[in-house]
Structure formats: C-alpha cells, structure tokens
Amino acid sequence: MLVSGFRSRTVVRKELEWFPCVPPSSVKMLIDFQWKLGMAVSSDSCRSLKYPYVAVMLKVADHSGQVKNKSFEMTIPQFQNFYRQFKEIAAIIETV
C-alpha cells in the first residue's frame, strides 16, 4: 500500500476476518499488566469446584492519556492459548 510516499507492510494478520483498519483513536497503550492465579474451591452451586483460574488486571491509556483498568479471568486452557499467541507475536516481531 503506497500512500503519500509512505510504505508500510502488514507482516502477519491472524484471524482472516478481522477488520484490518483499526482507527488510531481506539488503540490503547498497555501501561501495566498484573496477574493473579486463583483457585475457586467451593460455591453455593457446587461444593467441590476446585478449578484454578488466572485473573488479569490491565492498566491501559488511551490517546488522550486517560488511564483505565480492565480486568478479566481466564481458565487455564485459555491462559495457555493466550501465552502461546504472545510467544508467536514475540517470534514474529523479532524478525520484522
């Protein structure tokens, strides 16, 4: 794609249906990544839960400098997929 003398190259796009042009205003910067490994032991609906989970707290800043916290949980298989994807990104970004 050649625009006003600039040339950029998208190296790898994962998820073919993903919208390729993300408006810059919607992209946030990661400031901090905090994590917690928890174990849900029991609940009112299940006395024997025993399931581990990874809780993540992201501190992100938007283009205006406003900082927000975003948190979510992952099961262990979800985390392992997340980790694997990050390793892929690291391997690719190193070669670009």
Binding site: K14, S45, L49, S71, Y83, Q85, F86, A90
Partner: protein
C-alpha cells in the same frame, strides 16, 4: 403408576430436562412439561416427589463432582434407602453422569465466574515503514484485540435434551467489550516475561503434593 415411574426409558429424558433447568438455566422446563412429555400417565401428585428425588440426587452428584467410585458408592446407598431408587434407575443415573459430567461441571464453573472472561483474541504485527525523508519512522508493533465479556451465569440451547422446549434467546450472552492494544517489541517481551511467571505458578500449583 409406581410401575411407570420405575420404568427407565423416560428417566434419561427426565435427567436431561432436570439438568437443563438446574445447571443450564433453561427457563422453559417446568414440572408439568416434564410430566406431560415423559410420564403422561402419572398424576402430578405422584410425579412431583419423584422428580424432586431425582433432582436432589443429580444435584448431590454434581455438587460433589463425584468420581466414578464415589458415584457407585453413593448410588448403592440410594438403592438401600427407604423410598430410594431401584438398581435399574441407579444404572441410568450412572450412565447419565458419565456422559454429561464434563459439560455440567463446565456449566457450574461458568456460574461461579463473576468477573468478565476472555472470549476472543485477534492480533497482527505491522512491519517497518519508510518515507522519502527518513529511513525508518516506525518500529514494528503488534496490535492485539481482546474480546472481554461476561459469559453469563446460565447457558442455553444444549442440544442433547430429549424433550421439546421453547428456545429462549433472551438468555444469550451479554455484549462483549473489545479492547485494542498496541505493543512494541519491548512491551511484548515485558508481558511475555510476566506470562512465563504465571506459567511457572501454574506448574507449581499443579504439581502433585
């Protein structure tokens, strides 16, 4: 009528219906629906305590997340109880739990997850750019889109129910939030280091005592 309740043919369907209600939160599973579809010749006053007994047994098994040894011991005890179950009914319940344990457990785990979950992940890496004025104006960046949302405490529409119920779309998953993040190589490696710490903690946790 007691003979009809002891029949094992509709019991499997009853357990499916009870699981839909108790674990999957399907709104259409009423006592009358179950009776009319599975035990049409049994009066409601006889059906009610029977389905309550089966519901109680199923909930006990699920709550304790019984393995197969525990299940066998539990069901054997139920067959010896006054007003318990027959050994044929125990066999149907055992077969049901073995087939559906994983799905039911997954549903119970989802019900206890109250924070948002990671529903989806997409990413791309943008390469170097050049201009006629400078050799390199952009370093490579990764752009990642995280789909975050509450899974909802109840799921619907599990296909293995053996009874016909109206499908309620209002219990569909709540809307996701899409978080788009940009990472340069340094940031990617910083996060990767943190993720390796998580992985190490998981390994420590999962080690047999």
């Amino acid at each position: 009528m007691a003979g009809e309740l002891e029949s094992c043919k509709p019991l499997s369907g009853l357990l499916s219906g009870l699981a839909q209600d108790a674990f999957y939160g399907h709104p259409g599973i009423t006592e009358e629906l179950l009776r009319s579809q599975l035990y049409p010749d049994v009066p409601i006053e006889e059906f009610r305590p029977f389905q309550a007994k089966m519901r109680g047994i199923l909930k006990s098994i699920a709550s304790a997340d019984m393995d197969f040894n525990q299940l066998e011991a539990f069901l054997t005890a139920q067959t010896k109880k006054q007003g318990g179950i027959t050994s044929d009914q125990a066999a149907v319940i055992s077969k049901f739990w073995k087939s559906h344990k994983t799905k039911i457990r997954e549903s119970l785990m989802n019900q206890s997850r109250w924070d948002s979950g990671l529903r989806g992940l997409s990413w791309r890496v943008d390469g170097k750019s050049q201009s006629r004025h400078s050799a390199e104006i952009h370093t490579p960046v990764a752009i990642m889109e995280l789909e975050i949302g509450k899974s909802g405490q109840k799921q619907v529409g599990v296909a293995w129910a053996k009874i016909r119920v109206p499908f309620d779309h209002t219990l569909a998953r709540q809307e996701s939030e899409f978080l788009c993040l940009e990472f340069d190589e340094i940031k990617v490696n910083q996060v990767l280091k943190k993720l390796s710490e998580v992985e190490e903690s998981i390994s420590t946790l999962m080690q047999p005592v």
